[in-house]
């Protein structure tokens, strides 16, 4: 049969390519690590199985491919499998398979996917005899998988299972010669594997990687969970799960499918559904196991709507991403996405709390300088993995000192860190609660932040102390700018895309540096930027309550209104709604209060009292009407500006406040408060010098006002050397 390139193949490929590229903004520039790196973790078994190709010098330098090259290869694999699925089984399943694999297959799984696809295709070749060519091809595929990937166990499982299945299925057709040959071949293979296990202790552990995650500690690898991660990842996993279940069901129902093949499909589905890392690869395998004969060309042409719908889905995905995230730097440079840790002048062990991020530290440039305590190779874990997991838990919970665990062991991360002496602790930048806890540790300070990881180092050693101080100075400068101080971001901060900036902004907010976070946010109206801005205003509002005992009406109003809007949005996950509820409660907490004692209270009219109450509690309603009733009119304008602070441009709010301040009838009792708000707005607008003047003016007017403590702190930070 001649191979014909039907037009629909291109459409399938284009759809998959678009979806794969949508997972990475900087697809043109970014590299993708395709070959599993060499493993040299300090708490792992010393002689862990290494991918042989990774250790070969010429390959080591090219273990990473350009992301676009990876995308092209992945989309070919995906298109092949999804197309056949949709044409021979069900169209919807094919579409789901395409979307699922395109969005979830990671670079280090590409070669595994290729080997699995090849193994299944070999098994599907209809021959009446177990020919030498087929055997040689099978051995080549298995050998290739051993040399290039860690998932050769999966390939072996598929090859073995399909071979036994074919033997069972052709028991009448296969001659005595072939029946006799198979056990010999199987015995030789088993002997080969056993020999390999004898020569290399950990070969067996690597061989059984697809199943030994069941009894190994993988709690610090979120990717091992099915239906975990970002919403996009969960959707992809869910789609693959449905495809696997339906396909397995079809296989199980089929009378003529051998029991071995059914068992193989069940095992693969269990692996794919139980371990998120294997979802894509096992989905490919299961769909290929259920492979049916191709449709005639005439029927293929009538189903062009299927790939067209896939392309439409891909276009919708791009549209959605642009709408949510604003205009990203599509196809731009990826150099600034991650902090370049090779710029640091120290070296030593590194502890990562999210073991999925191990690959960041296993590049040729980092591997020897920053060996990990524990990476993502669960098959190479020693018996110290439990200790590492427990210490990670304590780190993320802020449990520094010794405490007793329910199992009688000693808790507290300080002892673990003292024993293993890492130079850096890497926390996932999404773990904001953990970053917040660890940022107040007396010894460990933030050394660098990017969208993926926040790295802590000891401030009291000569190795990492300079970098922690450099980072401290940078963050302080971003929060309270001092004159004539340059900001060096290299090695400390990486902002990358708009999405990256927002992620870094959330980290800075968690560290209680809201002005620094506002400074780096992209200047757009996207929902995600607005969300980060909301949490910044919360931090500012709470700072005022904590340090002055009273709310800053400017920040409190914006925080409460925005938090309520965020909470009411259907796109806000339930978890974040709970955080918002707690945040709003914290703003209403009255443990700390500052008042002007009886007898000194300035007379405040009822309309003004209503407006102040509304600002404090985020009610706008008919408050504007109350503003009209306040006299003098400059005071009404003052409050109107505050009420519009959530909707108007900051420059307009500032201008309105300054106009009210400059009016002749503006009362002295509000002048200091208005100057404080003007100073805060100028800080937000990145006019540090102007902000300083407003704060200084406020200090001159009333050095002991309710905002004095916070204002003095700002002034001292902005004028320190």
């Amino acid at each position: 049969m001649r191979f014909r390139l039907h037009p629909d193949r291109y459409l399938w490929w284009v759809a998959s390519l678009l979806l794969v590229l949508s997972t990475e903004s900087y697809w043109f520039d970014r590299s993708a690590q395709v070959i599993a790196p060499l493993h040299n973790c300090l708490l792992s078994i010393g002689n862990a199985w290494q991918v042989p190709l990774a250790a070969w010098g010429p390959i080591e330098a090219s273990e990473a491919w350009p992301f676009w090259a990876f995308a092209i290869c992945v989309s070919i694999v995906t298109a092949i499998t999804a197309r056949r699925m949709s044409l021979t089984n069900h169209a919807v399943l094919g579409v789901m398979l395409l979307i699922g694999i395109s969005l979830s297959l990671k670079p280090d799984q590409l070669l595994s996917a290729l080997c699995v696809l090849a193994a299944c295709r070999i098994a599907a070749v209809k021959q009446t005899s177990l020919s030498t060519a087929k055997f040689a091809t099978t051995m080549f595929v298995f050998g290739f998988s051993v040399v290039t990937t860690l998932e050769f166990g999966l390939v072996a499982l598929i090859l073995l299972g399909t071979a036994v299945s074919q033997l069972q299925n052709r028991s009448d057709a296969v001659g005595i010669e072939q029946q006799r040959r198979f056990p010999i071949v199987a015995a030789l293979l088993a002997a080969g594997l056993a020999l390999a296990a004898v020569f290399h202790d950990e070969f067996a552990a690597a061989l059984f990687r697809p199943v030994n995650w069941l009894w190994r500690d993988t709690s610090r690898m979120p990717s091992m969970q099915f239906l975990s991660g970002a919403p996009q990842d969960m959707i992809a996993s869910g789609l693959l799960g449905v495809v696997m279940l339906v396909t397995v069901c079809q296989l199980l129902k089929c009378e003529n499918t051998t029991i071995t093949k059914k068992l193989l499909a069940l095992i693969l589905a269990a692996i794919g559904l139980g371990c998120g890392r294997y979802s894509a690869v096992t989905a490919i395998a299961i769909c290929e196991l259920n492979r049916k004969d191709a449709l005639p060309h005439s029927q293929v042409s009538s189903k062009l709507w299927i790939p067209c719908s896939c392309v439409l889905v891909a276009v919708l995905q791009w549209t959605w991403l642009l709408a949510i995230n604003g205009t990203s730097d599509i196809g731009g440079s990826s150099q600034n996405r991650l902090v370049d840790t090779t710029l640091w002048r120290f070296q030593g062990p590194v502890m990562i709390t999210n073991r999925d991020q191990a690959s960041d530290w296993q590049t040729a440039a980092c591997r020897d300088r920053f060996p990990l305590l524990l990476g993502d190779r669960w098959d190479a874990d020693s018996d110290q993995v439990g200790e590492h997991t427990a210490a990670t838990h304590d780190l993320l919970e802020g449990l520094r000192e010794f405490y007793l665990r329910t199992d009688g062991t000693a808790g507290g991360y300080n002892a673990f860190l003292k024993q293993h002496k890492p130079v850096a602790i890497v926390v996932d930048s999404r773990s904001l609660a953990a970053i917040r806890q660890l940022s107040v540790d007396p010894t460990w300070r933030v050394m660098s932040i990017d969208s993926r990881r926040t790295i802590f180092g000891r401030s009291d050693t000569s190795d990492t102390g300079p970098q922690t101080r450099r980072a401290d100075n940078l963050f302080m400068q971003m929060e309270w700018p001092r004159p004539h101080v340059n900001m060096q971001l290299d090695g400390t901060l990486a902002l990358g895309t708009a999405d990256d900036s927002r992620a870094v902004g959330m980290v800075l907010t968690a560290m209680r540096l809201p002005y620094a976070a506002l400074r780096i946010l992209p200047d757009d109206d996207s929902r995600e930027t607005a969300r980060v801005r909301t949490w910044c205003y919360l931090e500012l509002a709470h700072r005022s309550i904590r340090h002055t005992g009273q709310p800053s009406l400017l920040d409190q109003y914006r925080a409460v209104v925005r938090l309520r809007q965020l909470s009411n949005s259907v796109l806000t996950p339930q978890r974040e709604r709970e955080n918002i509820r707690r945040a709003l409660a914290s703003l209403q907490d009255t443990h700390i209060r500052t008042d002007v004692p009886n007898g000194l209270t300035h007379s405040v009219s009822e309309p003004e009292r209503i407006v102040r109450f509304a600002l404090q509690n985020g009610h706008s309603g008919d408050t504007l009407a109350s503003c009209e009733m306040i006299t003098p009119s400059s005071v009404g304008q003052f409050y109107r500006c505050l009420l519009s602070s959530n909707d108007d441009r900051l420059e307009d709010v500032r201008a309105g406040l300054q106009t009210a301040l400059g009016a002749s009838g503006f009362p002295a009792r509000l002048r200091e408060e208005a100057l404080f708000y003007c100073g805060c707005l100028e800080l937000e607008l990145r006019n540090a010098e102007v902000a300083r003047r407003f704060f200084a003016q406020g200090h001159e007017i009333d050095a002991d006002s309710r905002f004095s403590a916070l204002r003095l702190q700002y002034l001292s930070q902005m004028t320190s050397k």
């Binding site: 397995v248 449709l295 449990l399 329910t406 914290s586 209060r593």
Partner: protein, 382 residues
């Protein structure tokens, strides 16, 4: 076109079709169950089971302990039992009312105000009134009492503001809380106390309470079981009570000596939590951490002693045998040949020289548990 592996439906007997459907359904259900279990349970461990004090379940009502055990009858009078109380506790209120009489507090404008059921520390100075709602009283009063306010941070996590003034038993009066500056600050926080962040706040409560439920960084104040009571040391005992004692998990009697000391040291501190250069005789700052000194003592190293050798944690300190020399003469009896005895000729006042009380730089004295022969170099400076 179907694969040659498949048969057409009309050649498949109905019973065979139903069997294959059943097999398919069973297989899929098993897969779903497995997948569901992985998602629901997952490889992660329940964070609540890590810290004994944060365990969610298994706690018994301790009023039932006395039904079977004698120890609880006196335990309520111990320092452990009273080491954390709500600020509204009568003893706490009684002490706080004395603050008004303190000249130093008056001078800086600090007083205590009752507002219905709440107590506030109020500072009036510089034309402002700063107010702090107090929540808890730390300390049994044997040495001191310090009050705190549990305040939420912007994420609802619990920070603690330690009140500036502490009541000291030795002087019967208030003084500046140890570790706080002599001069008050200007903000509500610094005028009234010192802020402890979340991790430190949790640490404070975990040593002064038996149950400290924590939910995403927030200490669930309403569910704190204050005081170091029965189950803090003996563990959650709900099942023990339910089975009327038939279920009796491993207790203190079965743990080794070092483990027993370690359990006390969870709160009374281990030497590993200090720098090596700090653990020297004569360093007053480690005296308050009894296990640190005890583990350096020859008495400890050469015997089988543990904390409970001298201290019965079920009884108040003033009724302890540890105030006398009963344990010392087990190995240092002048009437028994071969025992090492006091070179100064003392026979009934071992503690005065070998475990002296050391005055801190605040009005509290702690007994030095580094049992040793005193010398000029190792004698504590006042």
């Amino acid at each position: 076109m179907k694969s040659t592996e498949e048969m057409t439906d009309d050649r498949v007997p109905p019973t065979s079709r139903s069997r294959s459907h059943a097999v398919a359904a069973t297989g899929v259900l098993c897969l779903l169950a497995f997948c569901g279990s992985r998602i629901m349970v997952g490889p992660s461990r329940d964070a609540g089971s890590w810290d004994v004090t944060a365990a969610v379940d298994g706690w018994a009502d301790e009023s039932s302990c006395i039904d079977c055990h004698d120890q609880p009858s006196e335990f309520a009078q111990t320092g452990h039992a009273k080491t954390l109380r709500p600020v509204s506790h009568p003893d706490s209120v009684k002490l706080l009312t004395h603050l008004a009489a303190l000249d130093a507090a008056q001078a800086e404008g600090t007083k205590i105000v009752h507002d219905q059921d709440d107590l506030y520390a109020v500072n009036e100075s510089d034309g402002l009134q700063r107010q702090l709602k107090l929540d808890w009283c730390f300390g049994s009063g044997t040495h001191a009492c310090t009050w705190v306010s549990a305040i939420p941070d912007s994420h609802g996590n619990t920070d603690v503001l330690e009140f500036r003034w502490t009541w000291f038993a030795s002087i019967g009066d208030f003084g500046i809380t140890p570790g706080q500056p002599e001069t008050r600050g200007n903000s509500p926080v610094s005028a009234l106390g010192l802020l402890f962040d979340g991790p430190k706040a949790r640490r404070c409560f975990s040593c002064h309470a038996t149950v400290v439920p924590v939910s995403d960084g927030r200490i669930e104040q309403a569910h704190i079981h204050p005081g170091v009571t029965c189950q803090r040391c003996h563990g959650p005992r709900a099942k023990h009570v339910q089975t009327e004692g038939d279920y009796h998990p491993q207790g203190w009697g079965s743990v080794g000596r070092m483990e027993a000391v370690r359990r006390c040291a969870v709160c009374h501190r281990l030497s590993e939590e200090h720098e090596p250069e700090e653990i020297v005789p004569g360093n007053a700052s480690i005296v308050r951490f009894q296990p640190v000194g005890l583990l350096q003592s020859a008495c400890f190293m050469k015997s089988e002693m543990r904390c409970t050798t001298c201290h019965d944690p079920h009884r108040p300190m003033d009724q302890q045998d540890s105030l006398r020399i009963q344990q010392c003469i087990q190995c240092h009896d002048s009437k028994i040949d071969g025992h090492t005895t006091c070179g100064a000729g003392e026979t009934d006042n071992c503690l005065g020289c070998h475990m002296p009380k050391v005055k801190m730089n605040f009005p509290v004295e702690f007994t030095d548990h580094w049992i040793r022969v005193p010398s000029e170099q190792t004698r504590h400076e006042p």
